[in-house]
């Protein structure tokens, strides 16, 4: 089976710059570059990850362990300092639901805008529009401006757009806690259905019980290093201890 994602020994260093103005940079240069203008922080150290097509992988770890950074490298939002990332097929991130929503536009406009942002074509959105609205349970409010939506409605519509983009690789970052419990169950069922259809899933979540239901493989990260890579149950029990 071919790999859907190939991450080969990538490293990423963040520069924590304190200044945002040319003035301070010039002062620093004039003073003979004394002191450090910036602090460095290693978010990922020599991380490799091969994911086969159709695998369901959970990235686990405490806050600041580099899970989200790794996900951003796979989606292409960030580029590694060293090493390489390759992906096969269309990758879509269900990253931060509703990032592309504009509060002053109607639900309908937002479905089109967000769908296009996530890489759908006009034809695809037209075809799936009814399915998106139906899944979101928004109903008649679809032509209301999104700023009048309750937070649950907002998230439901955004999630619904995201799951209907139908890419080969899904990246999911902390968004499974969407809406009330019935809708949450619906979301999880939908994600499980995607996995059964052979989509590749990479999930970041702190909800360990949930992750162990969806994913088969767990990758445990700590301070930018891969600590463990194997069956999900073992990864979860390692993290819990």
């Amino acid at each position: 089976m071919a790999n859907a994602i190939e991450v080969s020994s990538i490293s990423k260093e963040f520069v924590l710059r304190h200044t945002r103005s040319i003035k301070e940079a010039v002062v620093w240069l004039v003073k003979g570059r004394k002191g450090d203008l910036s602090k460095k922080f290693h978010a990922l150290k020599d991380v490799s990850l091969m994911v086969e097509t159709g695998e369901t992988v959970a990235l686990l770890g405490l806050n600041g362990s580099g899970k989200s950074t790794l996900l951003k490298h796979i989606s292409g939002v960030m580029l590694p300092d060293s090493g390489s990332v390759y992906t096969r097929g269309r990758v879509a991130g269900l990253i931060e639901v509703g990032a592309g929503f504009h509060p002053d536009l109607s639900g309908r406009d937002n479905v089109y805008l967000n769908g296009a942002i996530l890489g759908m074509t006009e034809k695809q959105i037209n075809e799936r529009f009814d399915a998106i609205v139906e899944f979101s349970e928004i109903g008649e409010f679809i032509d209301t401006e999104v700023k009048f939506y309750s937070s649950g409605m907002y998230l439901r519509l955004a999630f619904s757009v995201a799951v209907h983009t139908d890419p080969e690789v899904f990246l999911i970052d902390e968004i499974l806690a969407v809406g009330d419990e019935p809708f949450q169950r619906k979301c999880i069922a939908k994600i499980q259905e995607l996995a059964e259809r052979g989509k590749t899933l990479v999930v970041v979540s702190h909800d360990l019980d949930l992750v162990s239901r969806i994913c088969a493989r767990g990758v445990l990260l700590e301070h930018g290093n891969v600590l463990f890579d194997g069956p999900i149950s073992e990864a979860v029990s390692r993290l819990r201890n």
Partner: protein
């Protein structure tokens, strides 16, 4: 489990520059439409503001410069410019387009930071959409200009209309190029947008919008006048004068020498070089947008 393996392995996050724009034309269209819808939200006059603002600006400049400072030709002031109102407005609409396009493009990346940090999409879309939106706002002003010209006895030939298209293209390319450059720089240093504000103030006065090019030539002499002429905005404004103002006069006013044989190609070339440089800089800097925003 059956899966179809589609496509080759590709590296995510490496943009294809302007090639991406063609593939994302639908998204570009939606972004432009969003900006247009959101711009005048909750205002009573709505899109009418696109007429009112330049209209007031025009009246202020016309009274202050044309009447008080005596740039308008009249019985008492035979040295002035005939049809100064048309002269002034044809320059103002172009400068307004440039100011709005560059000002918004320079802020577009930072303003859309939330999206750029989370989802990968061709980031050139944002500055380009800003320029596009400005072009849409330019259109009603152009309509007002044409109506004004018709009242002043406008009778252009095809060549003069082509000159307008050329002037618009030069300024559009320049605004896009500078927008990409300053938009990318703004992510690293927010000073960039203040620099742009300053630049726009200078741009209004560094081209013959309010005054006539002959005044510049007589003060600067031929060498510095050539420098003045090399500014693509100057060329654009002069082309607009040629297209809209010149056909309303008796034809006795002089156009800048070599406008078509020399300055039009130079203006276009400089704009395209700026566009290429802007695109190059943008591509070099965009890889780190997500972590710097």
């Amino acid at each position: 489990m059956t899966t179809t393996i589609s496509g080759e392995l590709t590296r995510p996050g490496l943009g294809g520059g302007f090639r991406d724009l063609r593939q994302s034309s639908f998204l570009l269209k939606l972004l432009v439409r969003k900006e247009l819808k959101v711009r005048y939200r909750g205002s009573v006059l709505g899109l009418l503001w696109s007429y009112v603002k330049p209209g007031v600006q025009f009246v202020v400049f016309y009274v202050a410069l044309g009447v008080f400072l005596g740039l308008e030709r009249s019985a008492k002031n035979p040295d002035g410019l005939s049809n100064y109102a048309v002269y002034l407005f044809s320059g103002i609409v172009l400068i307004n387009f440039f100011s709005e396009a560059l000002g918004n493009a320079a802020r577009s990346i930072v303003n859309n930071g939330n999206l750029i940090k989370k989802i990968y999409l061709p980031r050139e879309l944002f500055p380009v959409a800003s320029v596009w939106v400005s072009a849409v706002h330019f259109f009603p002003q152009l309509v007002v200009l044409v109506i004004g010209c018709l009242f002043a006895g406008w009778h252009p030939d095809v060549f003069q209309l082509l000159a307008a298209v050329g002037g618009f293209a030069i300024v559009g390319f320049l605004a896009t190029g500078l927008g990409l450059l300053f938009g990318a720089a703004n992510v690293y240093f927010r000073d960039s947008e203040n620099l742009v504000d300053m630049l726009l103030m200078v741009a209004t006065w560094a081209s013959p919008v309010m005054y006539s090019w002959t005044m510049v030539e007589s003060k600067l002499g031929p060498a510095f006048f050539a420098v003045y002429q090399a500014n693509p905005i100057t060329v654009g404004v002069e082309l607009f004068h040629y297209a809209f103002w010149y056909p309303t006069t008796d034809g006795s006013a002089a156009m800048p020498p070599n406008l078509f044989s020399l300055w039009l190609p130079i203006g276009l070339a400089i704009s395209l070089v700026v566009l290429a440089l802007g695109q190059l800089t943008f591509r070099r800097l965009e890889g780190r947008f997500a972590q710097e925003l």
